[in-house]
């Protein structure tokens, strides 16, 4: 089925434009590609889409993810142990992209992108229907090549700012970010946390005065209450480890039940985020 919707960076921009019009904020769930298998991943992506997610981040399993806590590490390990490959990743995206409205971005280590070759990786990603990338281990200084490839393909390269990023650097990073800006809530690895970090809300407000690019906040957000509080000042939130853990805990259930659970959980988060304008 051909979609007439915009692709790549433009599709992300369209989501934020529509959200602004409807006065809603974005929920961007993170799930690992191939955990526990690709058929389930496609079903989960559909469920997330139905539940009201604006965007989705699809984690590309990597053997040495130094920015990830135990939950996502274990998820990557399960996917790799089950035979997940980069070819299978693109095939999975292709299947899912034909069925969902929300743009899908790949969260991928630069180790993996570099190995395949930047131009080839970006071309394959575009052909599969990915809208862009989040590359957690690629600082701005090293990003010229991937940036150029993404710009010419019309795909987004989402940059990250963290609590340890000095203010002038944060502004420079925001200027180079396409799609949205990923504001990392804590100095640390991914993983659900019980409290929102002190100073987060002020940091997001400050960033808001410095850039027009949409700001999504991620790392550590797990409850609808947290999501709502953050979405009040940002353009949306990313929920990763909490959802991945939810999937891991439900891992032995039949797929339909697993998918219903995800839809339910994401639906609650989306509702909390959606009403927080």
């Amino acid at each position: 089925m051909e979609k007439t919707m915009p692709s790549g960076t433009a599709s992300i921009a369209a989501v934020f434009a529509a959200n602004r019009e409807q006065q809603r904020k974005a929920l961007a769930p993170f799930v690992t590609a191939g955990d526990p298998d690709v058929d389930t991943t496609v079903a989960i992506l559909e469920a997330i889409d139905r539940a009201g997610a604006s965007l989705c981040e699809l984690g590309v399993p990597y053997s040495d993810p130094i920015a990830d806590g135990a939950v996502i590490q274990a998820s990557y390990t399960r996917a790799l142990d089950n035979g997940m490959t980069i070819e299978a990743l693109f095939a999975t995206v292709k299947r899912a992209a034909a069925k969902v409205r929300m743009p899908i971005l790949a969260m991928a280590s630069y180790s993996i992108i570099f190995r395949r070759g930047i131009d080839r990786f970006v071309a394959d990603a575009k052909a599969a229907g990915l809208a862009g990338f989040v590359v957690p281990d690629l600082p701005v200084e090293e990003s010229d090549d991937l940036d150029a490839a993404c710009r010419s393909a019309g795909l987004a390269l989402v940059r990250l700012v963290t609590p340890t990023t000095p203010p002038d650097r944060a502004e420079a990073i925001a200027r180079r970010s396409t799609g949205f800006l990923y504001c990392v809530s804590v100095a640390g690895v991914t993983g659900a946390r019980t409290d929102l970090p002190a100073g987060l809300i002020d940091r997001v407000k400050w960033l808001r005065t410095k850039t027009d690019v949409p700001i999504l906040v991620g790392f550590g957000i797990s409850t609808p209450e947290q999501a709502k509080a953050v979405a009040a000042v940002a353009d949306g939130v990313i929920v990763g480890s909490a959802l991945v853990r939810h999937l891991a805990e439900a891992g032995s259930k039949p797929r339909e039940e697993l998918v219903r659970g995800v839809e339910d959980y994401v639906g609650k988060l989306a509702a909390a985020v959606g009403t927080s304008c």
Partner: protein, 412 residues
Amino acid sequence: MSTTSPAPSAPLGPLSSVPDALGRFGRFGGRYVPETLSAALEQLERAYEDAIADPAFAQELDGLLAAFVGRPTPLLFAERLTKLAGGAQIYFKREDLSHTGAHKINNTLGQGLLAMRMGKRRIIAETGAGQHGVATATACARFGLDCIVYMGSEDVRRQAPNVRNMRFMGAEVRPVETGSRTLRDAINEAMRDWMGSVENTHYIIGSVVGPHPFPRIVRDFQSVIGREAVDQCRRQFGRLPDMVVACVGGGSNAAGMFYPFIDHAGVRLIGVEAGGRSAKAGDHAASLSYGSPGILHGSLSYVLQNEDGQTADVHSVSAGLDYPGVGPEHSYWRDAGRVEYTSVTDSEALDAFDLVARREGILPALETSHAIAWAVKEAARRPADEILVICLSGRGDKDAAEIARLRGMVDG
């Protein structure tokens, strides 16, 4: 970009004028890390530039290297080994005589002083063989810093004496149960700790690996080995040696030994990697011999990966060489054709351990035994007026129990 090492007297040729301002050794190196670590790496870079411009820093480090480590380490003629090989004269640069029994202490004292200049009093480190862990624990005890060492649980088992010694000196050893439970996984865990602790913690990385500026800093601190060797050769032989050989895990003893020789084109430099059980993928840890350029632990260098970029499983009998990557400067030297890289197998290394134990009265580390195995074979092929220097990177006490266990298995 200044590339002043702690020895500003060394002449800098084109091959030694690296890295550049972005931490590049040719195309290799760089800084591929999460944004959370960027500020700390910049802080470290500034602190290091500051330190090497400060005569008090060099004075304090040199004082410690002399009285605490016991430098300079001697250059010893391995007389009976030379006789056995029947060719070139073999010399040992005795890093095994350093306090804590390996070259690793040269780096941990330097980085410990840097940590204090940055006001960081919590130290983390990874370790494979345990030598870097012990050297870090030692520096922390000396300086009064908190010390946490990540070590793969497989290495905790096979290098038990070092685990005990780290604990004696007040370090907390955290066994790592992820992945292959070896050095690579220990680095992952140390990096993850640093992601959350970077504002009050310094990560003393143990080799010439990792993101810029680590490969340069560790090389510079380890270059004391090569500088001493250059002086000793000039004094003892009136000339430089014909060949210099070192084992290569991450590559720090080799980088420190080679760097002062790099611009002396007449000196052959040979790095020996872990050939493990065979040349089959998964059976060895020889990144420069069998790998290809890729990114691991923050820098671009030769790595052992599968076609998707997933890090490959590796094997070596020696915990300190059991690593799928290598420092970026070695990749640069390899591609420039300046250093030759080769590998020897587990069993060749074990034989070299026996040989040096019986013929020289020295128990070398299993890592070091790789360099020795290659050097003895090569010496046999070279004329008697040639001089071959081996970096005897460490002592083998830590390996004694594991070697006995392996021998026990072989003997049935």
